[in-house]
């Protein structure tokens, strides 16, 4: 039995016998599915080239601060507040209750992989970016 009796309104003449309305529904739906899936599955985690400072408190990620936006953030760690400032494309810890002030002394960090670790207060500021060259850091 021949099928495809429902004529396609879009194509002309001979082609109509090839592609029925049902076929069109399938094609359009499939194309839509692929297009809509793009941002979900293929566009990568952080968009194009925007480095962010990930602030991790007590082992959990608290915030991501984009480096292109000036900002100041205070988080409560185990000993007290740690203040992080983002300006001119770099992040730094301006205040921290740790006795050695190691994470303050690191100063500005801006490249993916760089980090300031405030160990006593359990706060870590780590720069994340597109396609970081490293799987993990040793220090």
């Amino acid at each position: 039995m021949t099928e495809g009796r429902a004529e396609s309104p879009v194509l002309s003449g001979a082609a109509r016998t090839l592609v029925s309305r049902t076929d069109w529904v399938v094609i359009v739906a499939a194309a839509a599915a692929v297009t809509l899936s793009y941002p979900l599955l293929w566009s990568g985690s952080e968009g194009s080239g925007d480095a962010t400072a990930a602030v991790i408190v007590n082992g959990e990620e608290h915030t991501r601060l984009p480096l292109r936006e000036a900002a100041e953030l205070t988080v409560e760690g185990a000993l007290g507040p740690t203040v992080i400032r983002v300006e001119e494309g770099a992040a730094r810890v301006v205040e921290d209750p740790g006795p050695q002030q190691l994470c303050v002394r690191v100063g500005e960090i801006r490249r993916p992989g760089q980090a300031a670790v405030c160990l006593p207060n359990r706060v870590v500021v780590e720069i994340r970016g597109d396609q970081s060259a490293y799987d993990a850091f040793n220090y």
Binding site: L18, W42, V106, Q114, D135, Y139
Partner: protein, 367 residues
């Protein structure tokens, strides 16, 4: 037109109009997007992170390929086991190690767990292999310098005479008498501090657990010292790329490639310590002098035995510029990277093969 006749199209081509062909075209119209979606889904598996604090540091488990099982359960288990280790081996309080140390100081012996007994035995053989540069029995000296407690008070270095006296009492792992699980010491000055290899032991334990849980690719990182499992892009894929970071600047100074089952451990002069009168006193003491070892900035070791990597990094740091090469050979450690105070580097040939130094390194010598 007969019912079974197929209408001809403009090109007089019967084939394209045949129902079989149309069925195939429909299949492709559904099949191709389905494949694209499936591949897209496979791409999206991002690494899973589990973080907790134990053994005095931030610990991060990054699972790149979980295999069949949920890593949450094994991450939890490892967390609890490490907390138990921390309590058992804390130099103060009532854990097993603190109690043992008090008995040894009183000239008595004590029964300990098989785990601690085997750690102490391992400590003895590491001390012998390192010719005393790795010595977990100098807990008394570590305490004298104030590195036992996590104090936030500003500190000053101990009296030099006190340091000399403690050093002269010469506590060594060789002084321990280990009879099964009964531990005694011939020298009451012995005080065990497991800080030099506890992380190595914990890392080895975690790796065993991860393997048993069926995790396929992961990195277990204990505050910078790490072990790897599997490979990031599957068993036939590339190796792990580890960035060695200078804590002072936050910069990566070297990039090292390692396979699964590798431990990467670094001992450095900026990890723990205190500043006094403009000078920084770090926590890696030279057992021979009782003072912080000074001649290099950091030592990074790669080895598939995490306990050896941990102990060797410490011993090689103490050995310093002059002694590290010979000691590395004696310890059976082939991959060593040393950063000196001028931002210069020394490496073994084997380490050079897997390492790329960054521009901040001023010169590199391969031995």
């Amino acid at each position: 037109m007969p019912l079974n006749a197929v209408p001809l199209n403009r090109f007089h081509n019967r084939a394209l109009a045949a129902p079989r062909v149309r069925g195939l075209l429909r299949l492709l119209a559904i099949g191709i997007p389905a494949v694209i979606l499936a591949v897209g889904c496979a791409q999206e598996r991002a690494p899973e992170h589990y973080r907790f604090f134990a053994l005095g540091t931030e610990i991060e488990l990054t699972v790149v390929e979980r295999g069949r099982n949920d890593p949450g359960y094994v991450a939890d288990y490892i967390h609890r086991r490490l907390q138990v280790m921390e309590e058992a081996w804390h130099p103060d309080g009532n854990g097993e190690l603190a109690r043992l140390n008090r008995r040894l100081a009183a000239g008595e012996s004590m029964e300990v767990s098989p785990e601690l007994a085997s750690l102490l035995e391992r400590g003895q053989s590491l001390e012998t292999a390192s010719e005393g540069l790795f010595n977990p029995a100098i807990g008394g000296l570590v305490r004298l310098w104030g590195f036992v407690t996590d104090t936030t008070r500003p500190r000053s270095p101990p009296d030099e005479e006190a340091v000399r006296a403690k050093t002269a009492s010469s506590p060594r792992m060789a002084d321990l008498v280990i009879d099964g699980t009964r531990i005694g010491a011939a020298n009451p000055a012995v005080e065990i501090n497991l800080g030099g290899y506890a992380k190595g032991y914990a890392a080895a334990h975690a790796l065993d657990q991860l393997r048993e849980a069926g995790i396929e690719a992961a990195v277990f990182n204990l505050g910078g010292d790490l072990v790897t499992l599997g490979r990031p892009d599957g068993p036939r894929g590339r190796l792990w790329r580890i960035g060695v970071r200078d804590p002072r600047s936050g910069e990566v100074v070297a990039s090292i490639q390692v396979d699964g089952g590798s431990a990467v451990f670094t001992s450095g002069d900026y990890e723990r310590g205190f500043e006094h009168d403009g000078e920084f006193y770090h926590h890696i003491l030279d057992p021979r002098t009782g003072f912080p070892a000074g001649s290099v900035r950091s030592v990074t070791v790669v080895h598939d035995d995490p306990v050896l990597a941990d102990a060797a990094a410490t011993a090689l740091f103490v050995a310093g510029e002059e002694g590290w090469e010979g000691l590395a050979r004696r310890l059976g450690v082939e991959d060593v990277l040393i950063i000196g105070h001028r931002g210069n580097a020394w490496m073994t040939a084997s380490m050079a093969d897997r390492t790329m130094l960054e521009e901040s390194i001023t010169e590199a010598v391969i031995r």
